[in-house]
Amino acid sequence: MDRKEEKFKQIVADNKARITRISRYYAPSAEDWQDIFQEILINIWKSLESFRGESSVDTWVYRIAVNTSLSFAGQHYRRMKLNVDINDPDILSRLVDDSDEDISREKVSQDLQIQLNQLGVIDKAIMGLVLDDLSSREISEIIGITEPNVRVKIHRIKESLRVRMKGGQDE
């Protein structure tokens, strides 16, 4: 086993759960996530030689995963989803700023997935990283926009989701 192969397998082993989660978040259908997963592995292999250690391996892997998903979405434009586990009890507080009592658990189950899938491609990509508990600084390093801009975007997306979940009209 040569050095590149060894490094590749180590990175994949260390980040398998992360890559799997990202693949599942953005997969257009349940069957497609494995295609994204494989595409991410291929792009990790292709990018290995350009890895200079300027960012952490985690950030580097996230960049490849998100960029691959955006490119994958490009091939199947508008089919990109943001799939979440609606049975996760914390999902609402992670996606919407407050624990608004107007939004009932039952309504969450019904509407959350629909509302998430109506987000734009970039908003889905950002919220996928939010779901993975990444900080604004980490998201800014992955996406390439400033940290305040990331915070503004996340706030807007959450606000938009909150309004829609309450049955209001998004601006």
Binding site: F8, L41, N43, K46, A125, I142, G144, I145
Partner: protein, 184 residues
């Protein structure tokens, strides 16, 4: 879904990727040698060939072809490398900006190819000028241009149509995502 339910065989994937790496390397090497060989063959045949029947205009025309092919070969090699080396490990904004740049259709591409076109044009004109001896000198040049300019124009149009079908959708999608990200 459980995390373990993906069935990607990492070993066979790595074998496939290593195969692709060596294929790409081989293709680059072959392209490089093909390119060098063509320059050497054309240089020997048309420029330094000691054949007494070869006149100066043959040699000048040959030199124009060699230089034209060289410019084309360098351009193709550059585009091949650009397409093969898409870096997914940069930030999304950078990746999308590069994609927009890579897939756009600009006048600059024409300017890059112009020296090669002019050299090939000059090569053909010099060669035909000396074979169409029964025609007036100015008309010889115009006859060659009347053939070459439509050929170049049709080639350019075909290139544009291929870009419009294959590259434009990718360009527009990357631009749209970039606008969404940067808020412009």
């Amino acid at each position: 879904m459980a995390e373990s339910d993906h069935n990607i065989d990492l070993d066979s994937l790595v074998t496939r990727l290593k195969g692709e790496d060596s294929r790409n390397l081989r293709m680059m090497r072959n392209m490089k040698w093909l390119f060098y060989s063509m320059i050497v063959v054309y240089t020997l045949l048309l420029i330094v060939n000691p054949d007494r029947e070869l006149q100066l205009h043959h040699r000048i025309s040959g030199l124009c072809y060699v230089l034209g092919f060289t410019v084309f070969a360098v351009l193709f090699r550059k585009y091949y490398i650009d397409y093969k080396s898409i870096d997914y490990s940069v930030s999304s904004v950078e990746m999308l900006s590069k994609a927009v740049k890579r897939h756009r259709f600009t006048f600059v591409y024409f300017l890059y190819a112009l020296p090669a076109l002019l050299l090939v044009d000059a090569g053909i004109t010099i060669s035909e000028y000396n074979s169409l001896v029964s025609v007036e000198p100015m008309n010889r040049i115009l006859m060659v241009q009347a053939f070459l300019i439509p050929v170049f124009a049709i080639s350019g149009l075909i290139g544009y149509m291929i870009w419009r079908k294959r590259q434009k959708p990718l360009h527009d999608q990357a631009q749209q995502l970039l606008n969404e990200l940067t808020g412009s």
